[in-house]
Assembly symmetry: D2
Homo-oligomer: 328 residues x 4
Amino acid sequence: MMRNYSVRTDLALEERERFESDNVEIPGVILEEDYDEEREIRLTRVRIETENGARAMGKPVGTYLTLETPNLAVPDEEYLREVAGEICRCIEELIDNTGCGKEDLSVLIVGLGNREVTPDALGPYVADHLCVTRHIVREYGKYAMGMEHANMISAVVPGVMGQTGMESAEIVRGIVNETHPDLVIAVDALAARNSKRLNRTVQIADTGIHPGSGVGNHRAGMTEESLGVPVIGIGVPTVVDAATIVNDTMENFIRALESSESLKGVGEVLRSYNAGEKYEFVKELIAPHLNGMFMTPKDVDEMIHHISHTISEALNMLFVNRVSTQES
Amino acid sequence: MMRNYSVRTDLALEERERFESDNVEIPGVILEEDYDEEREIRLTRVRIETENGARAMGKPVGTYLTLETPNLAVPDEEYLREVAGEICRCIEELIDNTGCGKEDLSVLIVGLGNREVTPDALGPYVADHLCVTRHIVREYGKYAMGMEHANMISAVVPGVMGQTGMESAEIVRGIVNETHPDLVIAVDALAARNSKRLNRTVQIADTGIHPGSGVGNHRAGMTEESLGVPVIGIGVPTVVDAATIVNDTMENFIRALESSESLKGVGEVLRSYNAGEKYEFVKELIAPHLNGMFMTPKDVDEMIHHISHTISEALNMLFVNRVSTQES
Amino acid sequence: MMRNYSVRTDLALEERERFESDNVEIPGVILEEDYDEEREIRLTRVRIETENGARAMGKPVGTYLTLETPNLAVPDEEYLREVAGEICRCIEELIDNTGCGKEDLSVLIVGLGNREVTPDALGPYVADHLCVTRHIVREYGKYAMGMEHANMISAVVPGVMGQTGMESAEIVRGIVNETHPDLVIAVDALAARNSKRLNRTVQIADTGIHPGSGVGNHRAGMTEESLGVPVIGIGVPTVVDAATIVNDTMENFIRALESSESLKGVGEVLRSYNAGEKYEFVKELIAPHLNGMFMTPKDVDEMIHHISHTISEALNMLFVNRVSTQES
Amino acid sequence: MMRNYSVRTDLALEERERFESDNVEIPGVILEEDYDEEREIRLTRVRIETENGARAMGKPVGTYLTLETPNLAVPDEEYLREVAGEICRCIEELIDNTGCGKEDLSVLIVGLGNREVTPDALGPYVADHLCVTRHIVREYGKYAMGMEHANMISAVVPGVMGQTGMESAEIVRGIVNETHPDLVIAVDALAARNSKRLNRTVQIADTGIHPGSGVGNHRAGMTEESLGVPVIGIGVPTVVDAATIVNDTMENFIRALESSESLKGVGEVLRSYNAGEKYEFVKELIAPHLNGMFMTPKDVDEMIHHISHTISEALNMLFVNRVSTQES
């Protein structure tokens, strides 16, 4: 049951599913699920509450909210506004947990990833559509925004290491030390384990951003520990690792062998392998030139545009529009 | 030996290799190879000379030149200028075959593909860096270019069907009928069968562009038959189909089974399958959501930038600079 | 009173104003104005009904609708949706005039201009956000769109002559001959005479697109005469010609001289010049290197993004969404 | 003679010219000029050596090198490589002055400006084409670069305040404090006084970047004082202020009046105004909506692409290629 092999996923939900399939309760990990049937939006809340739970899940202690809907990349403005509303509520819930307070927040939003590679451009595109307000509030005061309370929103697209020679985390840490936000929100494209998740999932977590995942793996950790302020990570799976796809197919293959009359023997032998052994076996079979490759849908450009727009809208709702509505 | 299954490739070279591995001479198909050891450039010339050869290869009668070098995407300007020189000579050879003549040519260069999806943006990027001259020659005469002979180069990026509602072929046919070039050169990103070919291969063929291939499959045929003028296609493999990758791994897997002591039986059973049966078997195992997905390297943006620049340089050398050099 | 000098403007409204200031009724030209006070939207309708009117105005016979609002580039989604609704109604009025009919229209939308130069990118940006449907209706029939009627929308960004070596009009004519739309709608950035018009004006005319204007002057005429189908032009002033600005200032200067005690003499001399003589005088003073320069606001990027989005929305409303609403 | 009015320019050369036309030697300011006739490259070196000189020039103490060539935006690769060589030597001269040393330098290159507005995109485009090496040297050591010495080059595009809510200077200061480069090089688009300078001038200065200039005025100071390390600024004039153009024309106008028989009186009156009075007079005449507008050539996109490429090449020559050549 220990996690001794790793098919790469950035989604706590997928880590949890791995266990579920083994029918195990994990101590220190709480799972809640809500399904809004009419709007086809599923909200899963994974709380990792103990270090044991964290070890079992391979993810740090914290809360992971996952929104799923089949229609995340569908160009229906009205529906996407409702999804944005849901994302907005999720972020708000996690901010409440941080104890930052709710009024006159100063927030730095970081658009991670590489603007030049379509499936990795989610973070930069979200940053492109944000309403930044920090410079206005600083110059004219919050009354200039026409309200009693006003959040100071700033945004940055740090670029990726191959373009900057620096880790995104270094750049963000420098900016945090210089501009002192109360909170960092980092948006990034993720790698999923299951290609069915592409196009339809948003994960929001209060544990920051951790190395070793994502499309370009462009970051060392950005966490409350390393930055000194709470870090909320918003991630959307936009690619699947090449190795993952192959692995999935192998598992189908092995199942097919197990149920084949003429090949039953193989099935039995293979069944005796545990998941880790199977993975090692498959890994050997994957040509080394597959490393560094990812898989993405052909319509990735439209998908990225729609989803990034929805996330920007959620952030603008939460930090800019909502304030003005509450006050008026 | 007949081709009754199809792992997608746009490269004649890969079609040919399929047979080679079966150690068969294909009537009507001639293969020549040149290797420039010092510069590590391999030039393969596949000539499909008969309809029988065309049927066997699954590609139309014509000449397919393939340049391969491990360094196509390496940022070494001087070396890439030499590669551009090679590409330039290949295009020239095919133009000679068409009988268009060599002087005062009017050429429409078409940048196929989707500018918004990195691995499909090769054609548009090539078009971006061309020296177009048609409007200058038409307005001021060829002496304006300071030479006795001057080619009239025009270029267009037709976009993809999801953006335009039209097939690229319709747009190009309309423009050809209106502007009457002597020759069309279409540049496109291709799908390869083997991920090792990404980053290092350029195919130049005098058979035009054929439907059913490429990243976004964004085109009906553009051929001498449909456009009324010769069409040279320049293609660079930038993606591999998801199904192809999985298939490759399965073949490794099957080979592993064949040589495994405990699983020998399976190996024997599987070995009795022919290639087509194996492919069908694998295809069933691949989840349907893999259709419409492609695989691409993580550094695809740099690769596309470097290669598109080299191809533009080859075209500018051939049509613009060379003329002025010859004349002076 | 005859128009013997020309300060460049693409706006019929500005041509009309020139006369108005001279307090002249122009035969064959009808002017109507509507002002929606609450929403601050002014609609001006200039109808040039006779050839005499056309000569006087320096613009062809036809209907020119001009929407003006101070808030065209303000990021207020709800308000901009109302503006989009107004633009939608204007286009519909002009389509009704053409006699194309209203149902199952086949429309080619052309995004003129240069994507690489911010103030000239309006047309391409509008094209980026259109819902094209032609390929879907052609492949699956209009019932695939879930409605009894469906327009076939196609879109193209022809690029500018410096990129393509071809006139936009050649490219569009070729595509029209190949795909046979019922109607062409061309969207373009315009030059205004008065910098106050930037940011706040949309002109919609049923007379097509005429050479000699716009930012890059990237087009010969696209008219019903040259294309064989009605052509509606949608234009937004995004730049002012350098010479125009200087001219405006000179006029202020001359007025200042006229009212100055010590310089009264000059004022009198200058007042005796007519407008044409003044313009010639000013033109000589403008250094020749000012030709080919234009003037644009510093926040032109946001302005272009907002306005192009509003126009796309108007077109999508009219051709795609409205149909589905009417039917249901 | 005191500078009591200000027509905006970022070029020390133009400040100096202002005095020159008044035929004055400025104490504390040394001017040297070199002209390479064959290649048509003019190098002007303005050294402001004293605080008095600085006050007279309105620019801080330091060295300002200005390269001028009529062909800076002409697409002649070989020639531009020579210009890059000149720029490279200029930067090297200023680095020598700083006393940073020459070997194993750690340099942060900052691409200032707004990628979305063509004439302001120079800095970002330069950053796009740099060879960054810091991450490679840090991970593998300088021997990984195949040389005994290796510079650690990093690059960042901070964006503009309207996009980030932060001043570029805040972002850069944060990154400098975090990554400790020996030297900062900031590249930016400038405003010129004279439109003839567009397209043909590069200014390189060891005094950093100062507020109140440039296209978008997107920065508070970045100087050795504020960042703690030497700052070299590389600037290229890409726009002229609208007010400047108008002012130039007025001066032509006034000269025309002065030499006109019938208007001689005005000429005399106007001649009695000093430059500051004239400027105030003109400023009143310029409509207030001209503020915030700039003027730029129509082919600004090509110009920016060519020049940014040349500057990147100069920086790559200096920091990456030259090292490897010297060592081998």
